[in-house]
Structures are given as C-alpha cells and as structure tokens.
C-alpha cells in the first residue's frame, strides 16, 4: 500500500509540518502521519507567533526556507515589533494570529508541496533493524517503510490532562493521547522523562467589558515575518487588552489549592518556571497583589478569547469564580477551562547535532519530545531535522548551525549538550553573540547556506544577495559623500546636533546616536539619492554603521570562541582513562561524546577545571 519513503514524519504540529515541508521541498519523498488531519498545525496554547528571541527564530526559519514566517504573515491579526526602544539585536517581531486561519494556511501550504503524502492514523511503533530505523508501524498494524523517521509527538506521548482532581488521558483538549512509542523507545534503550505544561481558560469575547481594560494596539506601521515579498503587512489590525488580577481573585484561587494537582503532588512532571500557572504565581510571589492578564482575540471573526497569564489546572468551578472577579470579566462566559498536561519527553542529550538519535540511526526527534516549549522552538527543530534527515538519506553532509550563526544553533547546541530540567524556551540571553543574531539579518546569515544546500529558492537567494550588495553600496555612498563643515554645520544646528570641525562624510555623521539615516540622507538635499535605496536597505546600512564597533567586537569574540571549537576530540575517546576529571563530568562526556573541546566546555556538569584537564590530555 505504501512505497518506501525517504522521510516519514510522525506528528503534524509546528515541528512536524516544518520537517515534512523542508524534506519534501529538498526532494525527499515524504509521508506526514498524523492522528487527525483536521488538527494539522494547531496552536494548542496562545494564538501568537514570535516575541522576544522567538521572533528572531521565526525570521531564521523563514531565511532558511521554512514556512512559519509565511503562514504567520498570512494569518496574523496584529503585529508588534517588541523592544523597539532598545538596540537592534533586541527588536523582536510578534504577531497575534487567527488560530483557525493559521492551521488552514499550513494545511494549504502542505497540500501544495510536491513529494508530500498524508496518512491519518496513530503511529504506535518504529521498525528498527540493526540499529537503524526502517519505517513505522500504525495502530491498524500497517507497516510503512521509510529510510528516516522524524518523531514530533508534542504533548501526545502518554499525555495526561489535569483539571482539579479530575484527570484523563489526552494529547490536547478534546483529543486522545498516543501510546506505544515511549514504551518501545525505552525498550530500545532510551531514557524518558515527564514534563508538564499548562494553558489558560478560553472565554466568550461578547461577555467581556473592554471598557474596564487597557487597549493594546498593534504597531502603527506594522512589519512582517517573511523576507519574501509574496506576503504583505497588515492594513487593519485587532487590539489586545490588558487587565489585572487582584487580592480577591487570589483568595478565590487559594480556596482551590487543596484540590490543585500542582500542590497535592499529583503532577510529577516539571513545568516551565518562566510560564507559571496563576496558582504558582500567587503561591511563590505572595507579596504581589496583582498579576497582569492579556486578553487576546483568537481570530478576525471568532468571539473566542484567550486569557493570557491565567494558565491554571485548578478545578473548573474555582477557575470560573476567580475569572469573574477580574475587572472586565464580571459577566464572563467560559468556553473551556484551563488545564495542565503531563507528557513524555526524551532528554535531548541523547541526540547529536543534527537531532538524529545516537542510539538509532536515521531516527530524529524534534519539538516538545526534546523537552522544549513554544511553537517557534518546535518549528525550528522540525526544520533542522527535516533538512538533516533529507541530507542523511541522500548521503550528504549535515547542516549544523553555529551558536554565533543563529538562535537555532544556540537552541540545538544547548539541548544536546546541557539537556534541560524544565521545558526549554529561548531567551536572547542564552545567545552569547546576540548582537550578531538580529531579526534584520537572518536572511544575510542563513539564506546563502540554505540555498547552497538546496532548500532556499533562487528567488529568496537573489533577494538576499541584492540586499547584501545594495547595503554595501549605500554604506560606500555614505562614505563618499563628504561635505565641508561650513556646508554641514547650519543644517546640523537646525537639527540640534553638534557641529563638525572638519570636512565630514555622511557615514561619520550617521554614527551619532541622535541622528537616524533618513535625517542624514536629507542632509544631501539630493532627491534622487535620498530615494535611491528602499527602507530595508536603509535600515540595514544604518544598523551596520551605527553599531559597527560593537558588532566588530562580537565578531572577534565569536572567533576567539572558535579556538576551543577547533580543538577536535575523537568522539570515541575513552574518558575512563582520565581518573582526574569529576565522575559527573566523565559520565556526561561518555554519554554526549562531544566532538570539540568547545562543545565539551558547554556540557553541564563539566567544569572549567575538567576542561583544563582535557586540554592537558589532548595536548599530550
């Protein structure tokens, strides 16, 4: 019934969809297996993409030729560039999505992808021969042959939903969980763990009083995610609203603490500390008398509203009573209660840099199965697993992104070396060279790499090259345009900017923090020059000029780090020989098998003095 596929992707969430699209677009014959084709690309939690550090990841996915950016652009109802008041590395795009449109756009995109087949059924096992995966087995007992398999099961593996004292198996509200795979993987020698996440209640927007809340509008001049011109920015947007909990709300919630699975020990899995439930927040930070609630519409037309900041697994009656005590929610009607969900994950230290498992060849893991949280984190892993599975079955070199190259590189490097104790989310602070990893230059960083590998299209590549050349042309023009101080100073004075002493170039003047590029271009009074370069080029040149010294310093630092990266270690090196390193370090090194000293130094449990000892040995 089935041909032998190059790549079989199990699961059709953010990771699965990106994986399937990438492998198929590169030319693999791909099967996307999902339990329910009507729930492809669900936004299980909040209806938003991007945000701090996450927005940069979406831009990187787009630059590499993934779909998340395009789909978000097509389904967004609000766009904001966060952290605009800070330096360019901090700017983070975030969009509020229409949940149903998002899923629909993804499905359309996948249906329009060549080489991509679908199969709706639960995958219950893997076919493994001689340490290599050969396909999957389904609940109907069908064996589907495949050269590589990517598991992106999300929260479905033995998913267990908690609402107060009630609990039931399920992968998502209203959907059943998946069984079989965890058990088989453990039998194959994998280590598994349990994690927990949660989601807030959804309410009827018609029952809310927005007068009692603060409005939060989208950007006046919204931008978008994709570097391609085929998507457009929003001409109208929907607002979100902000309200706050109060002591009364907290007291009500506390009445349910004895029935909370969080506090009575029924939930064993570890939840994310940066995305705590409301009960966790009032418990741990009892001194705070209010917490912020974001009221987010779920789409253009739907009345459903997402109550961001109110994630909870308290009994539904307690949730409901407490909700109604929030200003603006007095008459709220609840569509469905919040819940917590526990699911299986596999500590990602069992993976190599391509997300292939070390235990079973050609088997890849991506997304929450690796202990991450977030659509963006999942999507980028799916993309990388899809790319690398394709490259592997076609006997080509893998694509591994460096920490100084992409947030995606930081994420995978962190996961496979440090593992994670709680659901892993990206933060800009995780990247040591974040000034290099900006949302404005993801295409410059990554598109050429992806194009060479065969994923980024010719169109994308040409756009990037044009941007690169135009930017350096503009920078060069600004260096060439020099004016005498007599000419410049009256204009500078009019701008309240300090006078120059000598003949100066526009390039020099643009370095001033108080003048932006458009103001500087206007100093020329040369209309054709002022409008010669488009906004994106102007912004790129401005960033590269204004922050030149900082960027240069980051680049030098990243090259210094490369010294350790360049010290190769034989992955089969027997660390048992070195009695002098700590036993924890030895255990971790044996397990992770780093390929460079740099990688070894980032493994948690390997201390700087362990690294010094390794250095002594390696140089012997």
């Amino acid at each position: 019934m089935f041909p032998e596929y190059d790549v079989i992707v199990v699961g059709a969430g953010h990771a699965g969809c990106e994986a399937a699209a990438a492998a198929a677009n590169m030319g693999s014959k791909v099967l996307l297996a999902t339990m329910n084709m009507n729930t492809i690309a669900q936004m299980s939690c909040n209806p938003a993409m991007g945000g701090l550090a996450k927005g940069q990841i979406v831009r990187e996915i787009d630059a590499l030729g993934g779909y998340s950016g395009i789909i978000t652009d097509k389904s967004m109802i609000q766009f904001r560039m966060l952290n605009r008041s800070k330096g360019p590395a901090m700017w983070s795009p975030r969009a509020q999505s229409d949940r149903m449109r998002f899923a629909e756009e993804w499905r359309m995109a996948l249906e329009n992808t060549l080489n991509l087949d679908f199969w709706q059924e639960m995958v219950t096992g893997l076919i493994v021969k001689n340490g290599q995966v050969k396909g999957v087995q389904t609940s109907l007992g069908i064996e589907i042959p495949g050269k590589a398999v990517i598991l992106t099961n999300g929260t479905f593996l033995n998913g267990l939903i908690h609402i107060g004292e009630k609990r039931f198996g399920g992968g998502r509200s209203g959907e059943r969980s998946a069984t079989g795979i965890t058990e088989q993987l453990i039998e194959l020698g994998f280590e598994a763990g349990r994690m927990k996440t949660g989601t807030p209640p959804r309410v009827d927007g018609r029952s809310l009083n927005y007068e009692a809340m603060e409005e939060q509008q989208g950007d006046e001049i919204p931008s978008k995610f994709s570097y391609l011109p085929s998507t457009s920015t929003l001409s109208k947007q929907r607002s979100c609203f902000i309200t706050y909990t109060n002591n009364q709300v907290h007291e009500t919630l506390q009445t349910g603490f004895d029935r909370s699975p969080m506090f009575n020990g029924r939930i064993k899995g570890l939840g994310p500390r940066y995305c705590p439930s409301i009960e966790d927040k009032i418990n741990r930070f009892a001194e705070r008398d209010r917490h912020q609630i974001f009221v987010e519409p779920e789409g253009w037309d739907t009345v459903e509203v997402y109550v961001n900041g109110f994630s909870t697994s308290l009994p539904e009656d307690v949730q409901y009573t407490a909700l109604k005590q929030i200003p603006g929610f007095e008459n709220a009607k609840m569509f469905r209660p919040g819940y917590a969900i526990e699911y299986d994950f596999f500590p990602p230290t069992q993976l190599g840099q391509t997300l292939e498992t070390k235990l079973i060849d050609n088997l890849y893991f991506a997304g929450q199965i690796n202990g991450t949280t977030g659509y963006e984190e999942a999507a980028c892993q799916g993309l990388m697993a899809g790319i690398n599975a394709h490259l592997k079955v076609h006997q080509r070199d893998p694509l591994i992104l460096k920490r100084s190259e992409a947030y995606i590189g930081v994420l995978i490097d962190d996961l496979i070396n440090k593992g994670t104790q709680e659901p892993y989310r990206m933060f800009t602070s995780r990247a040591e060279f974040r000034l290099l990893l900006r949302q404005d230059n993801a295409d410059l960083r990554l598109t050429p790499l992806s194009h060479k590998m065969g994923l980024a299209t010719e169109e994308r590549y040409n756009l990037t090259m044009t941007k690169m050349h135009e930017t350096s042309k503009l920078i060069n023009d600004l260096k060439q345009k020099k004016y005498k101080q007599q000419e410049l100073n009256p204009k500078l004075e009019a701008l309240d900017s300090a006078p120059v002493k000598d003949k100066s170039s526009l390039y020099q003047i643009l370095k001033r923090p108080d003048l932006d590029i458009n103001t500087v271009l206007n100093l020329t009074e040369d209309e054709s020059f002022i409008h010669k370069y488009d906004a994106e080029i102007r912004q790129q040149a401005e960033i590269q000029i204004k922050y030149e010294t900082y960027i240069q310093r980051e680049r030098e630092n990243s090259e210094k780090l490369m010294n350790l990266e360049n010290q190769k270690i034989n992955p089969d090196f027997d660390y048992n020989q070195i009695s002098s390193i700590s036993s924890e370090a030895r255990e971790k090194l044996l397990k992770i098998k780093p390929t460079t000293l740099g990688q070894a130094s980032r493994i948690s449990g390997v201390s700087p003095s362990d690294v010094s000892i390794l250095m002594v040995y390696m140089n012997k």
Binding site: G51, L52, A53, L82, N83, S85, K86, G87, A89, M90, P272, R273, Y274, C275, P276, K281, R284, F285, R288, H291, Q292, F294, N308, G309, K418, F427, T428, S429, R430, E432, R434, L435, P513, Y550, R553, E554, Q577, I578, S579, S580, I581, S582, S601, S604, S607, P608, S609, S612, I613, V616, Y617, K620
Partner: protein, 452 residues
C-alpha cells in the same frame, strides 16, 4: 592513558639532618614495597609511618621512615609515599637512582602541584597559591599563600561573582522580559551596584601592591647626602639579619644582599647615590636616578648626618621629602657626634636618632619601619592578591565595569550595557571559572515573578 609514577627530592638539595623523597602515582606502593624492608606496606593503612631500611639487593642504602598517603587523601590525590632519609647527597642520589631503576620517572619541576591541580585537589587560584607557598620566605608571605590556598581568595571572588551575576540578571530581565509586569531597576540603582562592585575590586587590586610586597619585599630606599652613613646602615641591618637567618657565616650574602627580613616582613632595601647639587654631568645622572627611585619607593629611610649637615640644608631636604608624598622615616645618624641644634631640630620632626656604625638604636628603627608600613590589614585576615594573573583579571573586570558606567551615562540601551557586563563576567571567570547564562536565568526566576 595513565600518569607515570614520579619521584623527586622534596627538601632542598644540600646537606641537612634529613632529606625527604616524594613518590607519587599509581605504582607508588608496589615500587617502594619492592625496595623497603620492614613492614609490608602494600597492606598498611593510609597516614601511617613505618621504620625500615631501603635496600638495593642485599646492600642497605639507608635506614628510613616512610609516610604513606593513599589516594585520594594525599597532596596529589594519587598514592604518595614520602621517604625520610638521612640528608646526605650520596644517600639521596642512591635512593632516587634505585627508584628510577624500579620504574619511577623523575618529576619535572612543579609536577606534583600540577598533578594536584589536574586531579582536582585545587582550583586554579589555589594551585597557584601552592607555588607561592613553596617559595614563601617569610611569615607574611606564608600566611598570604596559606589563606589563598585554603580558599579565602576564591571565596571573596565568589562573592564578587554573585554580585555581578545579580547585576547582569537585572539587565537581562529588562531585555528578555520587557513584556512582563515586573519592575525594572532604575539606572541609578544599577550605577550604585556597579560602584559597590568597583569598591570590592579596588580593595582586591590595592591589596596586590601589598601582596607583591609580601612576595618580593617592600621597596625601601635609603637616601640622604653623600657620607650620611647609608651603606653603613644597610650593612648593619644586613649583618643582624644574617645572624638570625643562619649560623653559617657568609652563606648567601651576595644573593639576597638587599632583602632584609624584619619580624617576618621582607624589605627590599635599595641603596642610592648621595643627593647633592652638582655640576658633574655623570654624577647628576646618578642623583636624577636617586630621585626617581625615591618616587617609586614604598618607604624612604632618609638619613641626616647629625655631625656635618647644617640647619639650612636640613630644611630644604625636609621640604623635598614632604613634596614627594612617599612615607618616610627621618633618621639622624651619628647620634654620638651630633650637633645639638641639628639634634633638636630632628627631634622636633620626630626623627629617629641612631648610630649605624655603633649599631645603636637599630631595634627602634625596625619598630618604626614596621609601624610605618603597617601590614595590619593583612594580618587581620583580609584577602591579599599576590598573583599577577589574578590581578590582571581583576583589572580587566574593573575596566569592563568602567565601560558599563560609561554606557549607562551615555544612555546606551541595556543590550549594549549587557555586552560590557558579559565582558566583566568573562574576566572574572578567568580566575575561578565561567559564569553561564543559566546562572543569570536561575537568578531571574528565583527573584522575579515572571511569566504570562
């Protein structure tokens, strides 16, 4: 790959009552047991001492005591045996040759300490302290090295690190959680945190001058007019010192000729050319050099010839000393032949009257010298930085903090402030180990209510 078993003489070469030979490595007990006649030490407990003989075949080389240290409870964390033998060059040579023949390797300089470090007995700062301890020639130097080895320095750096991590997480909070409902630190708060950090670093880097003095001797310049008795004083001090250090006359006089140990504090004395105004070009250069030396000194012993100086010149010299701003001790030499008015004048200026040639009042001079340099801050257990590498790292940390302050003052956004902070963390990390972003996030999650 296993380490070799190494051997070396642990006490100084030369004749002494005893010599100690140290053996360290995996084969230590097997090798020594082969040549040791007495108790079967292969089964003996750690930290025990045994009497016996060391034999080369039937030939007894020496009667010895062997001290046993089993891994990891030893200096190197390997099996270690220390053999105490009679301190004759011949015996020591014979013993070491025998051990080499039995399979030991001769230890390279510093190799025992290196192994202690590699085997995780010390962190880097502590390992360096051991080197200092071995080289310690006086009490204060010994104390400084000792407190560093026990981790006093590392502790102080750890506290500094915690403060920096706190600062960095305040900055990161504003960057990574700007959408959250948390209060961010004001720029003034951040600045006062940096000032606090700089104060700690200042204290530590300042101590380096002291630490350096402890290691190398406090630079002490003896100055005065020609023939004031400078060299006589130096010799007088040196001779007394010799009498304390060793009974053997004239041993190492040439080598440490200028370092004198006064009650456990090392002074590095520098004799200078006499100061006088001169037309002679060559001599003028000499005087110029004396002035430069005086400026760089930690302490000046300024000598007045009470017999042949005059009041007018004395005033000029006192003025000059005051202008220099270097702590000085005014010494009136030749007290037995003093002109009364000079003597009175000197006493007015709290000068100390001595006779270098008669060795009179030298004890008072030493007391005054000790009071002047007052190493009390160190004696009370404050941390002293004695290592150049640590000093450099602290200085670089401090410079990075200056960049942070400049950044804050110039209103640059916090992502750039964060770069400088990371730089500071990096330099501090060079002393005791890197700080990771996990440290920062951990701090944020534990202190702030984060999360939508």
């Amino acid at each position: 790959m296993k380490f070799e078993t190494i051997v070396a003489l642990a006490t100084p070469a030369g004749i002494g009552a005893i010599g100690v030979i140290r053996v360290s490595g995996p084969e230590t007990f097997t090798i020594v047991n082969r040549v040791f006649k007495g108790k079967d030490i292969s089964k003996a407990a750690s930290h025990t001492i045994h009497f016996g003989t060391i034999r080369n075949g039937d030939h007894i080389i020496d009667e010895v005591l062997v001290s046993l240290f089993r891994a990891p409870n030893s200096f190197t964390r390997e099996d270690v045996i220390e053999i105490s033998c009679h301190g004759s060059n011949y015996i020591i040579q014979q013993l070491i040759n025998l051990l080499l023949k039995e399979g030991c390797q001769l230890a390279k300089p510093g190799e025992f300490t290196q192994r202690a470090f590699v085997n995780g007995r010390f962190d880097l700062a502590q390992a360096e302290a051991v080197a200092d301890l071995i080289a310690a020639e006086n009490e204060s130097m010994h104390d400084a090295a000792m407190s560093q080895m026990r981790g006093g320095f590392s502790l102080e750096i750890k506290q500094l690190r915690e403060k920096l991590v706190h600062f960095a997480s305040m900055i990161e909070l504003e960057l990574d959680f700007s959408e959250e409902d948390v209060e961010f630190a004001s720029r003034d708060d951040l600045k006062s945190l940096i000032y606090e950090l700089k104060k700690v670093i200042f204290k530590l880097t300042e101590s380096f001058a002291l630490g350096n003095a402890i290691k190398n001797g406090i630079p002490t310049v003896i100055a005065g007019k020609p023939n004031a008795g400078k060299s006589t004083l130096l010799n007088a001090l040196l001779n007394e010192e010799k009498a304390i250090v060793s009974d053997i006359p004239g041993t190492t006089r040439d080598v440490i000729e200028d370092v004198i140990n006064v009650d456990g504090i090392a002074f590095r004395f520098v004799d200078t050319a006499g100061i006088r105004t001169t037309e002679d070009h060559v001599e003028a250069i000499g005087v110029e050099r004396t002035h430069a030396r005086m400026k760089d000194a930690s302490v000046i012993l300024y000598m007045i010839d009470l017999k042949s100086d005059n009041l007018h010149d004395l005033d000029t010299q006192l003025e000059y000393l005051e202008e220099l701003g270097v702590p000085y001790l005014l010494i009136g030499n030749k007290m037995d032949q003093a002109q009364p008015e000079l003597k009175t004048k000197l006493e007015e200026h709290k000068g100390l009257l001595i006779s270098a040639s008669q060795k009179e009042n030298l004890e008072n001079l030493k007391e005054a010298l000790k009071t002047l340099v007052s190493l009390d801050s160190f004696k009370t257990g404050n941390t002293v930085v004695t290592n150049l590498r640590h000093y450099e790292s602290l200085r670089q940390t401090d410079l990075a903090l200056d960049d942070v302050l400049t950044g804050i003052d110039n209103q640059v956004t916090n992502d750039f402030v964060a770069m400088d902070i990371r730089n500071a963390l990096h330099h501090l990390g060079l002393i005791t180990g890197e700080i990771t972003t996990d440290d920062l996030l951990e701090n944020i999650f534990s202190k702030f209510c984060i999360g939508k």
